[in-house]
Amino acid sequence: MIHFLQHVVHGVSLGSIYALIALGYTMVYGVLKLINFAHGDVFMLGSMMGWYASSRWTQEAAHPSWLGAIAVTLVSMAICGTTGFLIERFGYRPLRDSPKLNSLITAIGFSFLLEYGGQFVFGPNPRAFGALPISSSDQFPVLGVSISYIDVLCVGVSVVLMVVLHRIIFHSRTGTAMRAVSWNPSVAALMGINIDRIISFTFVLGSVLAAVAGILFASAYRKVDPLMGLMPGLKAFVAAVLGGIGNVQGAMLGGLILGLAEQLVASYVSSQWKDAIAFSILILILLIKPSGLLGKGAAEKV
């Protein structure tokens, strides 16, 4: 039982990071009906910039402090936010009126650009990340289960950010505008909403969340390299679809389910099956409930 709970703790921690990345997919999809495949690589960029900010540009990693960690995170968020803005401005905006497939291919192109451009610029060698004053070996026991402070931090930060995001979307003017654009862009434009600005805002918001996820992931798993965004990105996408793409709570739920499934499959079945299971879940959900667990089954207007 204790082992089961221990696996659950690890799963929830991993799932909360997937959820943070999934939010970026879900928001962009909600507003643009575009799957931004480059999102996983913006997540990588978040970790990588965190590494640069803490180990290259400053000596933060040598003497980690909370203040320093927050500064590192803010730098990483700013860089990722800018990258998200630029990708949308120069990659997706010119294609907005072309068929959706064109944008999708561009998204895949950006993904590869960031991955292999990253290999070229940063070098393909993995680096050790250590910007936080705590490490995952700092733990406390609860009922025989050891919980690390990083796990708590991951879940805590994810929940806080999700609440903030929820408030932005449902209780702010910008959020109202986002929902309007999501509902019908041309009508929203007629209502005086600056669509370009709203879409840019959505990309920046999603990329900033990815940067935070990148910092948390790198702190929990310590390794940073240019291809690290690939699998977490894909899994977060699965989480977003699982929960109902376009739905913020759905992304959270999907992330948690996926994180738990992965840990439990790895521990009770075989580690070699965990990815196969993760993607089987995607296929099953799509077969049974195409709109995802919390997705609205609204028929697409033709």
């Binding site: 590869f112 393909p124 995952s136 310590r222 580690s271």
Partner: protein
């Protein structure tokens, strides 16, 4: 369409002319017999195993410069053409093909990783170009054909060494295994460790696996912890091992970790940190080994590379290149078949990693050392384990019965250990450690996983 074919024709023509020139160039070399001898090198200079490639490259360069400085081979200088494969098996195969067909190399040095050597070997074999892998320990590598050699021992021996060390020296009864299923090397070592540990009276309490590139191992480690082993054998590569070590401590698994030569990199400690302290791994040589041959090599290497300490990959690459050049000197002429024959006859080549003799399967027979990861990531020499039938003829090379008292066994000829050497707290292996590698070799397995799978979109 017509324009395209025209372009195509032009391209073909260009290629044809290029080939012709190449052949003429080759002819000239043969005629003059004073032109440089071209040797190809394939290594992972970048990628997750980048230090493997760069260390090996330094070792090869050092050996090459020494031979060239001493007048070369048969009056000809050696030129090493090094290509980077980025740690990708397909790239290793492409690089080997390129070196053979467009550079016309006489011999190939590389790769470090068994998976990549297995991709290169068929190309070398088909072209009858002798290939010497410095550090690929998987048995299958030299089984590809009679042109494939290695300057290191094979997996069964490493798995055996660690099993022997765990039972005889650490007195362990229960161990668990965590192996990388995507890596021939890891699967091979795990299998042999499993067989030998059981044969020596131990018990394998859990057998888990991961895929290289994974970052979360907590599920497997939590299971291993509940099986309560006294040690965990992780025959993987350093990046994964560093992460595993940290997570092992996080889930409360505090037993010593055991591993193989894939651990040997500065990055290991950079990623794993203190979590690795008190762990052991088998290796090809130790810089702390006080034998004069090794200390002389370490000094030369440091001088050549700005104080950098040679890791075992550098030492093995140095030996692989040295062995190849030695064979070239003995060969009747500098052609693939002649160099191959000379390589096959290598006997008691005095390498820095020990006296090397080629067995009939073109594998090097030589001793292994066990190192302990000490405070601050310093590797401490913890013992040497000999294969069977290996004569300890040279007193300067004899294994130290007790590394704490090197002077006693070394006599007056041995220098003191390198400054900063931490005395090893562990006893050296029991005298019975010099035993059968043959046993181990026969238990070696032939299975493996398809190599060269990469995460793809």
């Amino acid at each position: 369409m017509r324009r395209m074919s025209a372009k195509f024709l032009v391209c073909m023509l260009a290629v044809a002319i290029g080939c012709k020139q190449e052949q003429q160039g080759g002819g000239n070399v043969g005629a003059a017999d004073t032109a440089a001898i071209k040797v190809g090198e394939v290594g992972s200079m970048t990628g997750t195993e980048a230090t493997f490639g760069t260390s090996s490259h330094n070792g090869i360069q050092l050996a090459t410069n020494e031979v060239n400085g001493a007048g070369g081979i048969k009056g000809r200088q050696i030129v090493v053409i090094a290509l980077d494969d980025q740690g990708k098996p397909e790239e290793a195969a492409t690089a080997a093909t390129r070196l053979i067909s467009s550079e016309h190399v006489v011999a190939l040095l590389g790769e470090v990783a068994s998976t990549r050597s297995l991709f290169m070997a068929p190309k070398a074999q088909a072209a009858k170009v002798p290939m010497v892998s410095p550090s690929s320990t998987n048995e299958k590598v030299t089984a590809v054909g009679d042109y494939i050699f290695r300057a290191c021992f094979i997996d069964p021996f490493q798995g055996y060494v660690m099993a022997k060390f765990a039972t005889d020296t650490l007195k362990l009864k229960k161990a668990a295994i965590l192996r990388d299923v995507r890596n021939d090397y890891s699967v091979g070592l795990a299998k042999v460790f499993n067989d030998n540990f059981t044969k020596l009276g131990g018990q394998i309490v859990d057998n888990q696996s991961y895929s290289s590139g994974d970052v979360d191992f907590k599920a497997q480690l939590t299971n291993i912890k509940s099986a309560a082993p006294q040690a965990l054998y992780i025959p993987g590569y350093y990046t994964d091992v560093g992460l595993i070590a940290r997570q092992a401590r996080e889930v409360g698994l505090t037993v010593p970790l055991l591993g193989g030569d894939g651990w040997d990199s500065e990055k290991l400690y950079e990623i794993g940190g203190q979590a690795l302290e008190g762990s052991y791994f088998s290796n090809h040589y130790s810089v702390d080994d006080p034998s004069p041959r090794i200390q002389e090599f370490v000094a030369k290497f440091k001088k050549a590379y700005g104080g950098q300490v040679p890791d075992s990959l550098a030492a093995q690459a140095y030996d692989a290149a040295g062995m190849l050049y030695d064979a070239m000197k003995r060969a009747n002429d500098i052609s693939g078949p002649a160099v191959r024959d000379a390589l096959a006859q290598t006997k008691d080549y005095r390498g820095v990693t020990g006296d090397i003799t080629m067995d009939d399967k073109r594998n090097a027979t030589k001793p292994a050392v066990v190192l302990r990861v000490g405070k601050g990531g310093k590797y401490e020499f913890s013992g040497r384990i000999q294969p069977e039938g290996m004569k300890e003829s040279n007193p300067a090379e004899a294994p130290r019965a007790n590394p704490d008292q090197p002077k006693k066994t070394e006599g007056n000829t041995a220098p003191n250990p390198a400054p900063g050497t931490t005395p090893t707290p562990t006893p050296a292996p029991a005298p019975g450690a010099t035993t059968s590698a043959q046993n181990a070799a026969t238990t070696g397995q032939r299975q493996g996983v398809p190599a060269g799978e990469h995460p793809k979109k």
